[in-house]
């Protein structure tokens, strides 16, 4: 495998990791707020707090890892995306800041501040929406590129049906991933009421998530025909994804093996995400930047890969410990500790 490909694969996998852990987090925010409106907050609040409070920082580091890594492996992305994305990314930063401080402030500070819960829920929906604009822009056609500068065609972005369909897909996916994980978690905690509620949410959002994915796929045809064609060539990946989707939904529907159900949902997104990424190859930004001309020098690439391997050796046992203590620990999950 070439270093370029290795670099982008590593980053893509971490971005996928972020997609999963962050979706669980963002979706949870929405469910808490929503259940507060419908007077059921007590059903969910506890379970979500227990799982999310110890891990929100780790979730954030996945994002930091991705953007530091992509600028490291592909410094030219800093130039193109950095110049163009000042406004959308700044919006994301602000939303992330509000959300990040929420955990700390609400866990120790004002316990039941309605206003803060509201912000927590709203940011959970808005952050994925604002972050996905980066993927939208990567399809090309939203930037004005001259020799001196790169700038964003904001009106074009805001009036593009493709862009809005991607936003919608991100939100629905977040809710689906989150609900299927939390169903599993509630089940482990033997909290039947929460489990039933979350299971309903998971089933409710399952079909829309696939429908909207199909819509996005067709919208892409008019946005970026080349990418669309390549996706058609990789159709088998999306078929596998669909297969996992059906397994996941079936298990949740039958109230069986929630752990496997969530794994199936993760695999569903893994294959869809891989298919999307592989068909995007070799472009980082259509049609001006590929992973080959945006790549850093070879020495740096090797240094980064070596650092990455050593980093993983530290990271994997640490993550395992975290999961052992908070996710797979019966007593903790049930709230006995």
């Amino acid at each position: 495998m070439s270093l370029e490909l290795l670099g982008i694969s590593v980053l893509w996998i971490f971005l996928f990791g972020y997609l999963i852990v962050a979706s669980i987090d963002f979706g949870a925010g929405f469910f808490v707020t929503y259940s507060e409106w419908t007077g059921q907050k007590h059903v969910l609040g506890n379970i979500i707090q227990r799982y999310l409070s110890p891990v929100w920082e780790v979730t954030n580091v996945f994002l930091v890892f991705f953007f530091v890594g992509i600028v490291g492996f592909f410094p030219k992305t800093a130039y193109y995306y950095g110049s163009a994305l000042l406004i959308p990314v700044s919006i994301s930063i602000i939303l992330l800041a509000i959300r990040g401080s929420y955990y700390a402030f609400s866990t120790y500070g004002s316990k039941d501040n309605k206003w803060y819960t509201f912000l927590y829920g709203v940011t959970g929906v808005l952050i994925p929406a604002s972050l996905t604009t980066v993927l939208t822009i990567s399809e090309g056609g939203y930037l004005t590129i001259t020799d001196e500068s790169v700038s964003l065609k904001l009106t074009e972005l805001l009036t593009s049906p493709y862009s809005w369909s991607v936003v919608l897909l991100s939100i629905v996916s977040v809710l689906f991933i989150s609900a299927s994980f939390l169903t599993y978690y509630a089940n482990k905690a033997e909290d039947t009421r929460a489990e039933n509620l979350l299971r309903r949410y998971a089933l409710g959002w399952s079909v829309p998530s696939v429908l909207i994915a199909v819509i996005v796929f067709y919208m892409l045809k008019s946005q970026n025909l080349e990418h669309f064609q390549q996706m058609v060539d990789l159709a088998w990946m999306f078929m596998i994804s669909l297969g996992f989707f059906m397994i996941g939904v079936y298990l949740i529907y039958k109230r069986k093996a929630y752990g496997w159900a969530f794994t199936a949902v993760m695999m569903q997104y893994f294959f869809a995400f891989l298919g999307y990424g592989a068909s995007h190859y070799p472009y980082l930004l259509y049609p001006v930047l590929t992973i080959y001309d945006g790549f850093t020098n070879e020495t740096m690439a090797i240094a980064l890969v070596v650092a990455f391997i050593f980093g993983l050796l530290l990271l994997i046992p640490a993550l395992y410990l975290l999961l052992r203590l908070f996710l797979f620990n019966r007593d903790y999950v049930k709230g006995n500790e």
């Binding site: 130039y79 000042l86 004002s110 740096m300």
Partner: protein, 450 residues
């Protein structure tokens, strides 16, 4: 003011960094102090110290949260505001930035575990062990980010042939000449500041009339490290001066208003420049600058006139330097007085005026951190990458930076006010006396509550 993307980008960078650095500094130093308290508590089997560690940890969760979100902000802003810098420098200095993210992972994971496992281990020492990776992780992130900043000051590890960067050596770039002094100064000043901040909390309570043992122990366990680290900071600061004399002479010359290259150079303290550029009202210490630069009066110190006018840093950095050094000396004296009194006249160690001085040491050391960074960063002007790239070549051309300055300023005000309110509430509603009482009721009164 007409809009200028570079100036506005600088303002926004300064704003975010100045805010982040307060929380980052606390993030680097406080784990060490928590570890100290918990360790002493376990060794001496003294619940007071354990409680201290526990209460500091609770406060720490709030400052870390703000550190993380503002750190994420500056991390993204580096690419958003300085895309051309990141594109160019990224090819040479990406390695430590990348390694820093692993340090973040490490810190975040173990902090999450540490916070939520206070009573989960039978042997308290296991819980203590979880803190070690947290302290290593946060000091490591300070190390990595500071090597990046060191590279901006003394870039090396690459060559430029026909405008193209070649011959890159990431390790050499990461260990540029300013790394030893910069990293050690940043680390010890962070430990020192954190010690003073925690000491101020105890002193403040004592000033309000609380006189439980707990506070006296808290004061001692923070002020002794504060003394050690403030002496270390001053010593390493002296080395930093020698480093500047050799590698970045224009920064030292601007800081000292030293225009002609000469030996036996005097150190100029305070004063001002009149309209003819003459130094007025300054305190001159003969030979001191030569001694600062190279340990002997005969050391030749390069003057500012050696540099082309458009490559000289602004002269106002002189005030930053003087103020930082003054604060360093003042803070060392405060810590020293406390330690001497504690040893020979314990009564005076808890005197009203001593306590007041300690309360003041917290804002003053945070101020010294800010001013130190302003000195280091403004003293690098007009370069962003010294000798290679000037600031205006690096910045974004976006017309929207002005608006964002306002938006981010509002955000930081909200974060500052929010964290202050939460911290206050957290400690006010649950004073240590109450927690100690609860503890001794649970454990059959083995702790004496006065």
């Amino acid at each position: 003011m007409t809009y200028d993307a570079t100036t506005y980008s600088r303002i926004l960078t300064e704003l975010t960094l100045s805010f982040h650095i307060l929380f980052a500094t606390i993030g680097v130093g406080v784990p060490l102090m928590i570890a100290l308290a918990q360790w002493i508590g376990i060794k001496r089997n003294d619940h007071h110290y354990i409680l201290l560690a526990r209460r500091w940890t609770r406060g720490f969760t709030i400052t870390v949260a703000v550190g993380v979100v503002t750190g994420t902000a500056i991390g993204l802003q580096l690419s958003l505001l300085w895309p051309k810098f990141m594109e160019t420098a990224g090819q040479v200095i990406a390695l430590p930035l990348f390694m820093e993210t692993f340090a973040f992972f490490f810190e975040a994971i173990f902090l999450g575990i540490y916070i939520y496992t206070w009573d989960r281990f039978k042997k308290p020492i296991y819980h203590f062990l979880l803190l070690i990776p947290v302290a290593i992780g946060s000091s490591a992130s300070a190390f990595f980010i500071t090597t990046v900043n060191a590279f901006m000051n003394t870039p090396q590890g690459f060559e430029i042939v026909n405008g193209v960067i070649t011959n890159i050596d990431p390790i050499e770039a990461m260990f540029s000449p300013s790394v030893p002094t910069k990293v050690s100064h940043v680390l010890v000043s962070a430990y020192m500041t954190s010690a003073f901040v925690l000491a101020a909390l105890a002193a403040y309570q004592m000033l309000k009339g609380k006189n439980h043992e707990y506070y006296k122990k808290a004061l001692k366990i923070t002020m002794i490290p504060a003394l050690v680290f403030s002496i270390a900071t001053a010593v390493v600061g002296d080395f930093s001066g020698k480093f500047l004399a050799e590698y970045q002479p224009e920064k030292l010359a601007a800081a000292e208003w030293h225009f002609e290259t000469e030996s036996h150079a005097p150190l100029i303290l305070y004063g001002y420049l009149d309209e003819n550029g003459e130094i007025k009202g300054a305190l001159e210490i003969p030979y001191a600058l030569s001694i600062l630069a190279g340990n002997t009066p005969s050391t030749e110190v390069i003057g500012l006139n050696e540099f082309p006018e458009d490559e000289r840093p602004p002269l106002y950095v002189h005030y930053f330097f003087d103020l930082m050094v003054t604060l360093g000396v003042l803070l060392t004296i405060i810590a020293l007085l406390y330690a001497m009194w504690l040893r020979w006249k314990p009564r005076l160690a808890h005197h009203k005026w001593m306590l007041r001085a300690i309360v003041w040491s917290a804002p003053l050391s945070l101020l010294a951190i800010e001013i130190g960074w302003f000195f280091a960063e403004v003293g690098r002007q007009p370069w962003i990458l010294r000798g290679y790239m000037k600031v205006p070549e690096a910045s974004t051309t976006s017309p929207h930076v002005g608006t964002l300055i306002i938006v981010f300023a509002v955000l930081y005000v909200i974060l500052a006010v929010g964290s202050a309110i939460v911290l206050r509430k957290m400690f006010k509603n649950n004073p240590p006396e109450k927690e100690l009482q609860e503890y001794s009721m649970k454990h059959g009164g083995e702790i004496h509550v006065s």
